[in-house]
C-alpha cells in the first residue's frame, strides 16, 4: 500500500485539464524520437515505464504476472509545457503513431497564470463560430433584365484608391476651348492617391515575423506587381524595413508603419535621401483589433542581430511599444500633427492614414479625419484581428466586430456626402473561416474601400497552424513550429521563402478569380461595388437590421 500523499497528486493537473491530449499509439511507434525532438513546447518526452502483463504459456492456463521495463512517449502535465495541439509531432512521425486531440472539457484558462502572470499568446480571438461576415450572402443576381457577366471572358476592374480624394467640386479644373484642364495657377493641393488592389497585406513586422516569412511575403507581392500586374501592397508593421528594400525601386509596393514605439524610424529617416521611389503610403498605428489599448511587444528572445539593426536597438532586450503615442495628448494633436509631419517628410507625395482598433468611438476619429485635408483614409481593425503577442483577455474580450463598425462609419460618411473622399480600410477576421473573397466582397458592399489581411495569409501561404480552438498560438514565444513568427534560425530555416512567395501569388490569383465569380453574377465589373448594400442579405434578422441589408430565408 502506497502512502495517501503519493496517491492523490492533489496539486497536479490531470491530462484532462489540458486543451489538447496527445494520442500516442504504442503499437505503431518505432521509438525514433522525432516527435519529442521537434515538439516546440517540450510537451512530450520519452519516458521509461514498468509494465505488468499476465501471461500464460503452457497448454493449460497457468497465468503468471510478468513485469517489464519499456519506453513510451508521455505527455507532461506541467502547464508551462502544455501541448498546443500544433501537430508538428504528427507531421514528423513516420508511422502515424502520434496525434493531438482537442479536449473540449479542458480547464486551461483556470490554470494558465503561474506566478501571477496572465496568459499571453499570439493568434486571434478564440471564437470558432462563424463571424457576421460569414453569415452574409450575395443575393442580388442579375438574370433576365441584366444577363450576368462572364467571370472568365469579361474584363473586370478590381482596384481601389488609397488616399484622400478631393470632391469634384473642389478639383482645380478650368475649361479651355471646350475641354477641361488642371488649373496650375490655382495653388490647390491635390492629395496623392494610389490605385491598388483592394485586398492588402496588413501590418506584420519584421521581428514579429521571421526573416524568411517576411521575405517570402515581400517577394510574393513584388511578383504580383511586376509580373501579374496586380498592384497588391503590404504594410511593414512597426519596426522598420530592411535597408536594401528602403533604397530599392520596390519600396512603392510597401506601406511603412509608424507606431508608438517609433521603432525603425531612425533608419527610415536616414534612408530618406537615398530613396529612389516613394512608399505606397504611411500607416500610423494607434490601435490594433486584437489588443485594443495595448502597445506592441517584441520579446527579448526575438531581438536578434537583424532585428536590432533594422530597429536601431541593442540585441536581446524586450521592445515594448507604449499603448499610446506618448509624445502627444489629444486626438487633434496626435492625429493631425503626425499625419502632417509624415506627409511633410515625403513632400506631401505619399498618402498618410491612421489605423485604429475597432471601437464604438470609431466615428469620432473618423469625423476628425474628415476635417483633416491631409488624412488619406482610416483603417479599422476589428476584434478578430490577429497579433504576435497579447494578453488572452484582451484578445478574447476586447474590441469591436468589423462589420457594423465599418457600416456605421460608411453611413456617417454618406450622411456627410464624403463616402468617396476618405477611404475606409477594414480588417480583423477576414478569411477567418477560409472565405477570403466572400468576406472581402461583403465588406466592400458594406462600405469598405479596401480590406487588409494578416492571419489569413500566414495560414494560406505558410501553413500557420493557429486557429480559433487555440491551436498553436505560441507566436509570442519565438517557438513557432512553422518558422513564421520566430527569430530562431533553427526554426525559420524550415520555412522556404520561395514557397511562401509562390503561395502568396497563388492565393491572390485565386482570390481574383473568386471575386470575379462574386461580382459577375451581380452584374458588377467596372468599379469595386463599394456600398452596394442591396447586393447582400443574411438569414439573421438582427444582423440584417443592424447593417441595413435585406433579411433572407
Amino acid at each position: 500500500m502506497e502512502p495517501a500523499s503519493r496517491l492523490d497528486h492533489n496539486h497536479e493537473l490531470s491530462i484532462k485539464d489540458f486543451p489538447y491530449i496527445v494520442r500516442w499509439r504504442d503499437d505503431r511507434c518505432k521509438r525514433c524520437g522525432r516527435c519529442t525532438a521537434v515538439c516546440p513546447m517540450l510537451s512530450i518526452e520519452p519516458a521509461v515505464v514498468v509494465k505488468r502483463v499476465v501471461q500464460s504459456e503452457g497448454l493449460t492456463p497457468e497465468p503468471k504476472a510478468v513485469r517489464y521495463t519499456t519506453t513510451m512517449v508521455k505527455q507532461t502535465t506541467n502547464i508551462e509545457r502544455y501541448c498546443i495541439g500544433c501537430g508538428t509531432c504528427t507531421l514528423v512521425c513516420p508511422n502515424e503513431a502520434i496525434e493531438p486531440e482537442y479536449n473540449p472539457r479542458h480547464k486551461f484558462n483556470f490554470h494558465k497564470n503561474k506566478g501571477g502572470h496572465p496568459y499571453r499568446r499570439g493568434g486571434r480571438r478564440n471564437d470558432p463560430m462563424p463571424s457576421t461576415l460569414d453569415r452574409l450572402r450575395f443575393t442580388r443576381i442579375s438574370m433576365l433584365t441584366d444577363p450576368a457577366l462572364d467571370a472568365g471572358r469579361h474584363e473586370f476592374r478590381i482596384r481601389t484608391y488609397l488616399g484622400r480624394i478631393l470632391p469634384a467640386e473642389e478639383l482645380p479644373v478650368i475649361m479651355v476651348n471646350g475641354k477641361l484642364e488642371v488649373d496650375k495657377t490655382s495653388g490647390k493641393f491635390i492629395p496623392p492617391v494610389r490605385e491598388i488592389y483592394p485586398v492588402m497585406i496588413g501590418s506584420m513586422s519584421i521581428g514579429a515575423l521571421s526573416p524568411t516569412m517576411w521575405e517570402g511575403l515581400a517577394m510574393g507581392i513584388t511578383y504580383l506587381n511586376e509580373v501579374e500586374g496586380m498592384p497588391v501592397v503590404m504594410c511593414s508593421g512597426e519596426g522598420g524595413m530592411p535597408h536594401r528594400l528602403l533604397k530599392s525601386r520596390f519600396l512603392k509596393y510597401f506601406i511603412p508603419q509608424i507606431a508608438s514605439g517609433y521603432f525603425g524610424w531612425d533608419e527610415i529617416v536616414r534612408a530618406l535621401p537615398h530613396m529612389i521611389e516613394d512608399p505606397c503610403a504611411i500607416e500610423i498605428k494607434y490601435g490594433q483589433g486584437a489588443k485594443p489599448g495595448d502597445g506592441g511587444l517584441l520579446m527579448a528572445h526575438k531581438v536578434l542581430k537583424l532585428i536590432s539593426e533594422i530597429r536601431g536597438v541593442p540585441m536581446g532586450v524586450d521592445l515594448p511599444s507604449p499603448p499610446t503615442h506618448q509624445t502627444q495628448y489629444s486626438i487633434e494633436e496626435s492625429v493631425a500633427k503626425m499625419i502632417q509631419s509624415m506627409s511633410m517628410a515625403w513632400g506631401f507625395r505619399v498618402p498618410v492614414y491612421p489605423k485604429i482598433s475597432g471601437t464604438r468611438t470609431a466615428k469620432a476619429v473618423l469625423n476628425n479625419l474628415v476635417r483633416n485635408p491631409y488624412a488619406a483614409g482610416l483603417s479599422i481593425d476589428g476584434e478578430d484581428g490577429g497579433t504576435g503577442a497579447a494578453y488572452n483577455v484582451s484578445m478574447d474580450t476586447m474590441g469591436h466586430p468589423i462589420a457594423s463598425n465599418i457600416r456605421d462609419c460608411y453611413h456617417d460618411l454618406v450622411a456627410q456626402g464624403k463616402q468617396n473622399e476618405l477611404p475606409l480600410i477594414a480588417s480583423g477576421g477576414i478569411g477567418k473561416k477560409g472565405n477570403l473573397a466572400a468576406n472581402a466582397a461583403a465588406l466592400f458592399m458594406l462600405g469598405a474601400s479596401a480590406v487588409s489581411i494578416g492571419k489569413y495569409i500566414m495560414q494560406a501561404a505558410a501553413g500557420c497552424f493557429g486557429d480559433e480552438m487555440n491551436r498553436c498560438n505560441v507566436c509570442n514565444l519565438g517557438k513557432c513550429p512553422r518558422g513564421i513568427t520566430t527569430q530562431d534560425p533553427k526554426l525559420y530555416r524550415r520555412l522556404d521563402p520561395d514557397v511562401v512567395a509562390e503561395r502568396v501569388v497563388e492565393v491572390y490569383k485565386s482570390l481574383d478569380i473568386e471575386l470575379k465569380k462574386i461580382f459577375a453574377p451581380m452584374g458588377r465589373s467596372t468599379e469595386l461595388p463599394i456600398g452596394m448594400s442591396d447586393g447582400i442579405g443574411t438569414d439573421d434578422h438582427a444582423i440584417a437590421e443592424r447593417l441595413h441589408i435585406s433579411y433572407v430565408c
Binding site: R140, S142, L144, T145, D146, P147, L149, H154, E155, R157, Y161, I165, L166, P167, A168, E169, L171, V173, M175, G178, K179, L180, E181, V182, I190, V193, E195, V414, A415, Q416, G417, Q419, N420, M522, G523, R524, S525, T526, E527, P529, I530, G531, M532, S533, D534, G535
Partner: protein, 369 residues
Amino acid sequence: MCRLAAITSNEYFSPIENIAALETMKEGHDGSGMGLVLKTLGGEFEELKDHPILSGICSKNGLHTLDEYMNKLGFKLKYAWTPRTKPVKGIVPRDYYFARVYDYPDVYKDRPLEEKEDLLLKTRLALRKLGETDESIIVFSFYPDILTLKEVGDPLELCEFFGLEKSPLKAKIILAQGRQNTNYAINLYACHPFFIQGYGSMTNGENTAFVPIREFLMSRGFPGYLGYNSDSEVFCHILHYTCKKLGYPLTYYKDVITPLKQSEIDKRTDSEVARLLKVSLRPLCIDGPNCVIAFTPDGTCFMVQDAKKLRPGAVGGVKGKYGLMSEECGLDSVVPARDKSQDIFPMKFDMVIIKPGAEEVTVWNQLHG
C-alpha cells in the same frame, strides 16, 4: 427591356411619330406604361416659351390643393392644357391630366434664371410631397417649354386615350419610352423619361450600381436628387450634376458614367483631368447594360452606351430631323427617306451628339477625348 424613341427636328412634329416608332419595336415593351417629354413646344405653347409649365396628374381634391398651394406662392395660372381623353379599354382614367402654364410670382419676375429654376424645383418637390401618400397629386416636371405626359398602358392605346392624333400638341424634341415592367411595381414616378432643370433622359437596361450612385447623389445636398423609384432616374441626375452643378462640357458625362482604363486615359490630351474625374467621381460609374438617350437645356440630344454589354441603339436621319432609337425599325418609321448606310450604332466609346436644331450628327470618341 424598355424601348426608346427620341426625335429631334428643326420643325415642330407630333408625338404620334414617336409612338408610331415605339409601335414598330413592340416586341420590346409590354405596354406597362409610356412616358413622353416634349421640349421646345409648338402649338398653343409656342407663345408661352418663358413661362414655366407644370405637368402632372391629379385627383379632383388634388387639384384643389394644388391651386391653393400655387396661389399661396404667388404663381398665377396663365393657361391650362389638358388632353382630350376618351375612354379606351384597359386604361383606367385618372381625374385630371394637366400641363398648366404659370406666371412667375411677382418677386421672381426679374430674378436670374438660376433662382427661378430653384423656385420651380422646390415647388415641384413640395407638390410631389403634398400628393404622395394618397396619390392625389403627381407632378413630373415644372419648367419652361417642357411638357411631360405619363400613364400606364400600351403606347398606341394611350395615344388614343390622350387624343394625341387630333391634338395640335407639337414640339421639336420629344423623348418617348415604352415601358417593359420588370422588377418594380408600376409607379408613374418610375416611368421614363426623367427630367430635371433642363436635362431629360431615358434609358433601357439595368443599372447594377444603382444603390451607391443613389447614395452619392442624395448626399450632394441638392434637393432635386431624390425619388429614384427607378434605377434609371440616376442617369438624368448624373447628367444634371456633371453639366449643371460641376459645369463640365457634355462629353465628360461619358467619362463620368463609363470612365476609361488608366492606360486609355494616358493617351488622352486631357489625361490629367480625366484621371482626377475618374477618382473623384468613382461612385457615379455605372454598371450593367445601359443605353442612355438624353437632351440638354440648349436642345442638344445624344446617345451613349455602357462600357461593356451595350443595349441596342441606333441614330439616323436627315439634316433637320434625326431619330435616336432602340432599334433601326424605329428609325425607318420616323425618317424612312434617309441614307441607311449613314446610320450610327454607337459602341462603348462613342457618344453620338446631335446639335440643337438637328443640324448635324457627330460621334465623339472617348478614347480620343
